[in-house]
């Protein structure tokens, strides 16, 4: 057996091991409804924050608990409790991804990723405003 064959076999074996471990460890993008069916398993949920409803944040009592209402891509709205302080400028996030699991009616998030708007695709008025307002 030549060196090149050994290398080939080792690499293929490792690549397979990586793929298997990645697939088994990977989480899935789901809706709150799907996460609800499998209460307790960790998922990623993409959605929008409901800015009409108040945030739950009482730093005097607990600086590490932040709650808000978020609608997933199907429009299903759920209360999300996040273990951490309120992210700066949370109001401005266009889209957010929460990582965590459903616990009863609430989603307990261990991570909150925010995506801020980077394109100017608002209404005509908004786009004009982005040109005329200063910092």
């Amino acid at each position: 057996m030549k060196k090149i064959h050994i290398i080939g076999i080792v690499l293929i074996a490792v690549a397979l091991a990586v793929i298997v471990s990645t697939v088994s460890e990977s989480s899935t993008y789901v809706t709150f409804g799907e996460a609800q069916k499998n209460e307790g398993s960790t998922y990623h949920v993409i959605g929008k924050v409901n800015l009409q409803k108040d945030f739950i944040y009482n730093p005097e009592m607990n600086a590490n608990l932040f709650g808000f209402f978020m609608a997933d891509t199907t429009g299903n709205e759920v209360k999300v409790m996040y273990n951490g302080s309120k992210p700066q400028d949370f109001e401005k996030a266009e889209k957010i991804v929460v990582v965590g699991k459903m616990e009863g009616p609430e989603f307990h998030a261990s991570q909150v990723l925010m995506k801020c708007p980077s394109k100017y695709n608002g209404t005509e008025e908004e786009r004009t405003k982005s040109l005329t307002s200063s910092n």
Binding site: K3, I4, I7, V10, L11, V14, A15, V18, I19, S21, T22, V23, E25, S26, S27, T28, Y29, V30, T42, Y43, H44, P59, E60, M61, N62, A63, N64, L65, M81, N83, G84, S85, P87, Q88, D89, K92, V97, V99, G100, K101, E103, H108, S110, Q111, L113, K115, C116, S118, K119, Y120, N121, E124, R127, T128, S130, L131, T132, S133, S134, N135
Partner: protein
Amino acid sequence: MGTQFIGEHLQYGKLGNIFIILSFTAALVSALSYAFQVFRKNEDPLSWNRLARVTFFIHGCSVTGIVALLYYLIHDHYFEYYYVWQHSSTTLQVKYMWACLWEGQEGSFLVWTFWHVVLSTVIIIRGKDWEAPVMMIMMMIQVFLASMLLGLEFGHVKIGSNPFILLRNQADFANLPFVQMPDYLSKLKDGRGLNPLLQNYWMVIHPPTLFLGFAATAIPFAFAMGGLLTNRVREWVKPALPWAFFGVAILGIGILMGGAWAYEALSFGGFWAWDPVENASLVPWLTLVGGAHVMLINKKNGTSLYSSIILNTVSFILVLYSTFLTRSGILGETSVHAFTDLGMTGQLILYMAYFTLMAIILIIAKRKQLKDPNEDEHVSSREFWMFMGMLVLVISAVQVTITTSIPVINKMFGTKMAPPADAVDFYNSWQLPLAVIIALLIAVAQYFKWKKSNGSEVTKKLAVSFISALVISGIFEYYFRFPRVQHVLLLFTSIWAFTANLDYLIRILKGNIKHSGSSIAHMGIALILLGALISNVEKQVISRNMLNVDLGKDFPNNENILLYQGDTLAMGEYYVSYKGKEKEGVNLFYEIEYFKANHGTGKMEKQFSLKPIVQLNQRMGNVSEPSTHRFLSRDIYTHITYAELDEGKAKADEEGYKEAKPHMMKVGDTIVASNSMYTFYELDKNIDKKSFELNEDDLAVGAKIKVTDVNRKEYFVEPVFVLRGSTPFTLFAEVEQLGLKFGFTKIDPESGKMEISVAEKQSNTRDFVIMKAIIFPQINLLWTGCILMFIGTWVAIRKRLIESKKS
């Protein structure tokens, strides 16, 4: 048409467009000329070469011209150009203006193209008979890169994105009436500005260094391809070797600068987060290190030719793939700092496919000449262990690539996979054992001789460093107590890698600087691994919030503390105090003082103060920037995670009370406020109406409330709910010492709850911050390692250059 716009400077854009077209066509002509030079040997040997050089010169001048022009436009605030408006503003300091240049994708392609021009110039000057084949490949690369700036559109097909496009022609704004007004420019107040996170000195030097590293991977690739094309399938290795190590040094330092930036300016608390964008630049470095090492083997004994060609090709393709990942917007949900999609995905894929296919076809066509000499490496040879090291690096690269490519896999197969919930942990569990093997190989490999060595001799030579490493790691382990076996293994192997290389440098090389490159560089790598291990595993979040209620298993970490202005809290071995904030330009500086208790005098002694920043930015959102105090043996990192920014929002009445907050309470309930807690302990139905000056037929109920302040002093108040006829009102009760005013405003007969309103005096609510503080022990080992690695690689390159001059 028709409209005459006032105040625009269109001549610059026209000049810029000429440069862009010129840089593209000149690159194309130069690539073709070099190709003719390579394939038409029997004619006048220099005729095509001359044309190729002239067109390269034109290409180089055009690229430099674009860079200079774009910088000039940014510097002088010509906001009629979309790129300038989008990436800069009048308030920006001059020192950050270069960062505007490469904030956008067009600019970063430009910097990359520029570095290729610089490196190609060196090839032309020093390349001799390698010039034509290497430059032919380089100029092909330049054709693709220059096309990224063309900004042409044919129906739905878009080629490149032009940095000189006018704001009023840009797709997002073109149809707005605002930009059709002749004087729109005078109404345009300012540019959108540079992302506040990028306004950092690391962002001025990190991107160009990284792009120089990217550009450097193209050269060994071009040598390999050029060698195959001209049937010099073995000879290319020697001249390409210094270039490969140049790439290793520059790309390595570029990646680590990114880490330094993340550590200093970003708030994720550490220098490496396995973020897709970081991974994308790490992977080509790993394969390039592997490639450079097998080239060394090849130079010594002629084997490993296939691996040399393949690894250099893979490194170059992975640089393109990394660009694809970060520029196509495909990372979307998985990365915090991915660029937006400019619609060049197809172009990037074509670019990758072209060079991948070219390499595959060339390797297959020349496979007969590529056969290794029939001897296999002996297990006791240096080359055997170097080869193993390369394999481990490749395995590491494969793991990082596959996991980072989850979004690409999703796109290709329509799956809905998300990255592992704890991605950092997942990467570490794979990479840690690989790092242990790498450290072990770094320690032992050089003690083996080329071809074959005597086992007992090797063992004897390694004994000193092995024993000293055992002792040193024993001390570290005694001090730190690492939580897992693999941590201890990496601790020992990385220390051994350091001592073994130091020993090799002193006893075998006898301190000969000229040959010390590899030892120094490997000592650097050993320190990087050691520093990363200790500062990561032993990092200590000292801002633990002890007062919190248990939130259950989902919410185990309470890593932020609330600190009121003027209060002092114990945090780890320190006491911290929030002194106040100060506004300077767009930055809010929060002054946090660190004290230690002197056990002798019992007094608090100030150690240092830190000023973490919250940068105010309306458009892109406020960002907070940590502040770090550096000791020799550890860093103390402090970061504002939350602060109330809109002050004065709550207006006070003439008595100094803010708007009252209503609380629905029932008997027995307790509520916590900023300076006290209050318990509604009894409903009082026997109100003495006379003492309250109430009418006989009024209905009155009192709420007996006990107020406890922070010193456990108790106060008793009784606000009264009155119903006169059908009109309800309340008699307020005050606790003047605490600045609290209570009212009993409503009774809800259904739930049996009562509404107690509480107003606090404005002076009660003090400013506060919520902060996080982390101790990173021994992180300076990591930075020292970076410097050693850079110096060592540089010494090694010098040695190779001197060697190649001699021959």
